[in-house]
């Protein structure tokens, strides 16, 4: 794996973002809108639910964390789409860039986009609602890491599907991650879900992160059990996602579909 080739792909996106206001808006607009909406709703609801501790914190923490996963996913899939939209994909795949380096660059873009959006959301939550996400203490770091890993896995699978089926599958770049939101128990405990979905949640890394977050905010206990589950599942899912991508790329080369991705 050559760092200069990974850096080249990252530079391509940095140059793009330098002068693209719509792309900056896309990073900040939705998280900030969600933050405003859910922040005020939770402030209002907290007046009637005195028995529920740290109501606002639950919602805002959940929103910020969900956005971490979503941005990590989009960092991979939308960065890939940028090269499809500009008909640049063949130039890249006919260069010495390896598939592994290409994925590494997309995953780095996931980190960059996630950090940019999250920092803005954290600052806004602090200013508007005096909510400090860092009250989660050391658990904050493994939470973020797990959401990043899951976001990558979803982004890589999405990218592979678009590579295989072309632009007809483009909508997945925005919608696929949302499928995981209900079973991730972002805004409610897993126990709220029907039993069958609770079983699914057990195998969803983000559900363990959100359960762990609520545990830290309500009881202050470090959620070892949830974090071990989340890391274990993410290791499996990310490996499967990467293998899936390589398998699809082989298939796409065999079927001659690289030239048709933009169709």
């Amino acid at each position: 794996m050559k760092l200069h080739r990974i850096a080249a792909i990252i530079w391509r996106h940095i140059y793009l973002y330098q002068r693209s206001l719509p792309r900056w808006l896309e990073i900040f607009y939705w998280p900030l809108l969600d933050l405003l909406l859910w922040g005020f709703i939770s402030l209002y609801l907290s007046r009637f639910s005195g028995s529920v501790p740290k109501f606002v914190g639950f919602f805002l923490g959940a929103l910020i964390f969900w956005d971490i996963l979503y941005r990590a996913n989009q960092g991979v899939s939308i960065s890939f789409l940028e090269d499809v939209w500009s008909r640049n994909l063949l130039n890249l795949f006919a260069s010495p860039l390896t598939a592994g380096e290409f994925l590494a660059a997309l995953m780095t873009m996931g980190i960059i986009k996630m950090l940019t959006g999250t920092i803005a959301a954290v600052i806004m939550a602090r200013i508007l609602y005096s909510f400090n996400i860092f009250t989660l203490g050391l658990a904050f770091i493994p939470f973020v890491l797990n959401l990043l890993l899951m976001g990558w896995a979803i982004g890589i699978v999405t990218t592979a599907v678009i590579l295989r089926f072309g632009m007809g599958a483009e909508v997945l770049a925005w919608g696929f991650a949302l499928i995981f939101q209900p079973i991730s128990a972002v805004f409610y405990p897993v126990s709220t879900l029907p039993p069958s979905l609770q079983t699914l949640a057990l195998f969803t890394p983000s559900a363990h992160v959100f359960e762990g977050m609520r545990q830290v905010l309500s009881a202050g206990a470090f959620p070892w059990h949830d974090l071990i589950w989340a890391f274990g599942l993410n290791a499996v899912y990310l490996s499967i996602a990467v293998l899936f991508f390589f398998q699809i790329l082989r298939q796409v080369r065999r079927l001659g579909l690289l030239m048709r991705v933009e169709q």
Partner: protein, 255 residues
Amino acid sequence: MSTRRPVLEVENLAKSFNGNVAVAGISFSLASAEILGLLGPNGAGKTTTIQMLLGLVSPSAGHIRYFGLDFPAHREEILARINFSSTYVSLPYFLTAWENLVVYAKLYNVKHHKEKIAEVLDTFEIYDLRKNLTRNFSSGQLTRLHLARALLNDPQVLLLDEPTASLDPDIADKTRTLLRRIRDRKGLSILYTSHNMKEMEEMSDRIIFLQRGSIIDGGTPRELLERYHEESLEDVFLQIARDNVPRPQASPHTS
């Protein structure tokens, strides 16, 4: 007979898509500093062949060797030493010409990349446009930018798919002259496809005719004109494309 070493050797290369034969076991070679024209009607298998030579499509059968090295086994090393330009690709629209070339210079690990970028932009007379967004380029300017990109890594083999298709006659002529000059100066080998017969005749040392995935004839432009008793390559092309009768074939390998 030339003793030039082949930089590209293709043996029994074949590709089928769901049982439809796109390339039917073709063999040819490209010598160092040679310009080889790949000619054929639409659907003859030219683009599929070029895509297999770039690793964008995996062959169903056959072997590709660059510089004596097996392509799939030395993919990374080989792709660093070759390049291509095609009408089917573009470059990121919201980057300037300079920025696009910086990205590719980093990708190919070009040393002293600023000087090299300035050189290739100047070569294709688009240095003054270096700060312009690619989206604002005319198709001719974009073609020249693609060619500039393709020369960034000083390739030893250049695969060109319709490289002058959107250029005006003046720039197209300058481009052909330039490519020949680079070939003479640096020993660049070029595999070239075009529908412009005059251009093929002028550019190519040797021409291969592809029809329905097979090589049906080949030779130098002069040999082909003599063999078919025609005045121009276009007439030869029409005769071959319409008759589809295989003629006694000259060697598709280095002559």
